[in-house]
Amino acid sequence: MLLRHTPPEIADRKALTANPAKTCQPIGAMYAAFGIKGCLPHSHGSQGCCAYHRSALTRHYKEPVSATTSSFTEGSSVFGGQSNLLSALENIFTVYEPDVVAVHTTCLSETIGDDIPQIADKAKKEGKVPEGKHVIHANTPSYVGSHVTGFSNMVRGMVKYFSEGTGRRNGKINIIPGWVEPADMEELKRLAGMMDVKTILFPDTSGVMNGPLTGEYAMFPEGGATVEDIRDAGNSMGTLALGEWASADAARLLDTKCKVPCKVLDLPIGLAATDRFIDTLRLVAGTTVPDTIAFERGQLVDLISDYHQWTYGKKVALVGDPDQLISLCEFLVTLDMKPAHVITGTPGKRFEERIREIVPGDVNVKAGQQADMFLLHQWMLNEPVDLIIGNTYCKYMARDLDIPLVRHGFPILDRPGHQYFPTAGYKGAMRILESILYAILDRKDRDDPEETFELVI
């Protein structure tokens, strides 16, 4: 057994986190920043933070992840990181020539109390930031919230630094997609395009974190939301923020700053959440939904009905990020599956409530501190499930408990696909259902006695 030391008896823990179901803010800020075209994320702290975040994102996306660091030394930790950031900015704009440097802080620079806007301002005054180039920032103390909070903070930073209302509406709808895969961002744009709705989607990592192999390397690929687009987001008719945890803050700031009204929706993962997304988009844009979208939806419903006997009543344990888990649980309920244990390390009072609203009957749910995979494992030891949905770290529990695993969330370190094939929208829901069915039916085929080993399922 790989996790041989996890006992079924659950003792209350107040200080020790074991096998976390979250990581720290800066990595979310780094990922979000890759959704701006021509942007170089910069980590203001020790170089290890940047190295770890780049490694984790690289392992997940199998793509170049270029980000810089202030490389704090003991001296900078005592005297502050101003001179490190100043020389970093000078070097970055000279050597790499990005359009935007998106600075995020770390627990180190936050504890010291470095004032990023003041340092960036000084850099500008000293001519270290070329004309027309931008330095934006987000405070992302690692000891608050989680990686999702960091993502949200950087998206908010985009609005804060770039979005401007000129008073002239541009007829567009902003979509803030939340922490989803590049393929999902692509899918949201495709769906909006099918409805003829003009959108500004930011951040947009499609084409950045799922690029082609051509023999050429561009540090700043063609993808990403442009600064002009994010600026123009202040003139849009409205904003759809997908996911309370990852997107709502930025949308609300757009509302206060530029008077662009917003609606916060669940991530469009699964049938019902995608329905709400499409229907809301239709209403706010004043358009009709084309038959082609209704057709995709119909295909999903068809697939659900074709294989309902295999999903019905199956118990599932889930671990991941709040926005994802809310929609996933809802989809599982749609499939007549039963979320039994739900864990997120990301704090948030509303999470437990939302899950209990969505899931009928008893469900173990916990968010925040000590809501970790160790606890999830213990729950499963006490109440076994038929399926686990979560990131790659779940494979240890899946192997020990001999339970099939569907990989979803961040990070997925050991299987391809998530970069290229969406889980959002109706097509995405079909892909999730396909993965679930493969997992369940492969297990059935493995375990069935010879006489009931079925050819046709």
């Binding site: 041989r4 030391h5 003792a11 107040k14 200080a15 020790l16 986190t17 074991a18 096998n19 976390p20 979250k22 990581t23 720290c24 910069h42 020790s46 170089q47 290890g48 933070c49 190295a51 770890y52 780049r54 490694s55 984790a56 690289t58 392992r59 793509e63 170049p64 992840v65 980000a67 810089t68 660091t69 202030s70 490389s71 704090f72 030394t73 003991e74 001296g75 900078s76 930790s77 950031l85 020389s87 970093a88 000078e90 070097n91 050597v95 790499y96 627990c107 180190l108 504890t111 010291i112 690692s142 000891y143 608050v144 989680s146 192999l213 051509t214 023999g215 050429e216 390397y217 240890y396």
Partner: protein, 545 residues
């Protein structure tokens, strides 16, 4: 592309000038000292290279931090210590299982905490009011859950800043729980790279664990293996060979290791050093305190493996052992040579670049040369000058403020346990026979004249090197992998081995030959252009005929 004819290459000086021309003057001046060509220095001497200096802010470095070096590298491969990261969640999370250290507990009942990640997950109130209380509680909770033999505490950046006394907490909990509890002040901002973390880790293991158990392991020829971390199962292959030769591995620092091995390390009669960078000072301390001599070994490459086994045998000077080692080499080598010969037509004449670690960029050159491949350029991520230029330069290395921050232990002979394994006369006699006791000649001594050696290579420089030299394979780590491959150059990770390995020992050499053969001859690099991109012009045949 491997098949295209290469034009004459610019001189190393031209390459260097081209690289640094892009930098602001201050950066250019510094980088100029970190880029040297072999053969540049005085006759017979390696040129001086600037190494182990601060990373330049804003330059896309490969380096990680002190915490990574301490918790990830050194303590990562030890299975039976409960490692608690004291800090916000990230550091613990990122160092959770990502180094591919393998371990083989003897039975399912033996402890193995490696698949676990433990953290105090510090929150803002812990930063404001101090985290000692939470750390104490976390140690207690870990003890109550697992009852381990030892618990280790690792400090992250904010811990040093807010002044949590992790060592006091460790001491207090050690007394309270009756198990060994020790802490590492391995805040990420210390030192200039992972190297500082290795030092901090090794110092604490030496202070708190080594020499605490006098149980004498069975066996006639007892050695330690220092600086081998069992990536991809390397240690298993080395252990297999040592076993076969009848050599007892008392302790490994720290591939496939246990707490007890550290505690009994002082019972060995010879220390062998794989990664000179991460651990040579432990070898020195084991000699000073317990009288165990050390030698540098290298189990990467078939020839190097054979040489290392022979050196160990030569040290013990036992005829039966020497014969046994020769028999093992004779038995193992034919299979290796057969594969080398099989891949040779496809690998000979190909070129490689290696920018990785603190020893791997040197060791792996042996494997490449066994395949007839030339190393065009190499460098380390976190090494010091002696790893490039050899140990003879150690007295001339300037100790700067960053290095001074890393504790140097004062070691004196242990009253009870110091026992010189060889007399000075014996050691001298061995040295006269060409036995390289306590020596390492560094990377440059092995490299061809005019090869570029670059310390702390960054992404921009890597791109430039590829553009100029068009190597057939580039070796570095995960962060560099895909920017290199986007350029159409296969990239081999020499930290994690891309989930491959082992590459150590004889079986490892076979694995590596096959892997490099696969990489440099992969068809995928020929797929990058679509037919219409290769022949974009419209010809008269564009209509159906």
């Amino acid at each position: 592309m491997a098949t295209t004819k290469k034009k004459a290459l610019p001189t190393p000086e031209q390459v260097k000038q081209e690289i640094i021309s892009k930098y602001p003057p201050k950066v250019a001046r510094k980088r100029a000292k970190q880029i040297v060509a072999v053969g540049e220095g005085e006759e017979g001497c390696a040129p001086e290279i600037m190494a182990n200096v601060r990373t330049i802010p804003g330059i896309l470095t490969m380096r990680g931090c002190t915490y990574a070096g301490c918790k990830g590298v050194i303590l990562g491969p030890t299975r039976d210590i409960v490692n608690i990261t004291h800090g916000p969640i990230g550091c613990g999370f990122y160092s959770w299982l990502t180094r591919r250290n393998q371990t083989r507990p003897p039975s399912p009942e033996h402890p193995n905490y490696m698949p676990y990640c433990f953290s105090t997950d510090m929150q803002d109130e812990d930063i404001i009011f101090g985290g000692e209380k939470k750390l104490r509680a976390a140690v207690q909770e870990a003890y109550d859950l697992f009852h381990p033999q030892a618990i280790a505490i690792f400090s992250t950046c904010p811990v040093g800043l807010i002044g949590d006394d992790v060592h006091a907490v460790a001491k207090e909990m050690k007394e309270k729980l009756g198990i060994n509890v020790f802490a590492f002040s391995c805040e990420g901002y210390k030192g200039v790279s992972q190297s500082a973390g290795h030092h901090i880790a090794n110092n604490q293991i030496f202070k708190h664990v080594v020499g605490t158990d006098d149980t004498q392991p069975a066996g006639k020829f007892k050695i330690t293996m220092l600086g081998e971390y069992n990536i991809g199962g390397d240690a298993f292959e080395i252990e297999r060979l040592l076993d076969k030769c009848g050599i007892t591995l008392v302790a490994s620092f720290s591939g496939n290791s246990t707490y007890d091995q550290f505690a009994r390390a002082h019972t060995a009669d010879l220390c062998t050093v794989m990664c000179h960078r991460s651990i040579n000072y432990v070898a020195d301390m084991l000699e000073q305190k317990y009288g165990i001599p050390w030698i540098k070994v290298n189990f990467i490459g078939a020839k190097a493996t054979a040489k290392s086994l022979r050196r160990i045998a030569q040290y013990f000077g036992d005829k039966a052992l020497i014969e046994k080692v020769e028999a093992v080499i004779a038995e193992e080598l034919p299979a290796v040579e057969a594969v080398a010969a099989e891949v040779a037509p496809r690998t000979t004449g190909k070129t490689a670049m290696l920018f990785v670690g603190g020893s791997r960029a040197h060791h792996y050159q042996d494997l490449f040369s066994e395949m007839g491949m030339k190393t065009l350029s190499a460098g380390y991520e976190f090494a010091h000058r002696d790893d490039y230029e050899g140990r003879s330069v150690i007295p001339t290395i300037k100790v700067d403020a960053d290095s001074r921050n890393i504790e140097e232990l004062e070691v004196v002979p242990d009253e009870k346990r110091f026992k010189p394994r060889k007399s000075e006369a014996e050691l001298k006699a061995l040295q006269e026979q060409g036995f390289p006791y306590k020596d390492y000649e560094g990377m440059m001594a092995q490299m061809e004249k005019s090869s570029l050696v670059i310390d702390d290579l960054n992404q921009y420089e890597a791109e430039k090197l590829i553009e100029i030299y068009k190597p057939d394979v580039f070796c570095a780590g995960i962060k560099e992998k895909f920017s290199v491959q986007k350029l159409g150059i296969p990239m081999k990770q020499l930290h994690s081995y891309d989930s491959g390995g082992p590459y150590a020992g004889f079986k490892g050499a076979i694995n590596f030959y096959h892997e490099i053969d696969r990489l440099v001859n992969s068809k995928v690099w020929g797929y990058m252009k679509a037919p219409w991109q290769k022949n974009p012009e419209l010809s008269a045949t564009y209509v159906w005929e």
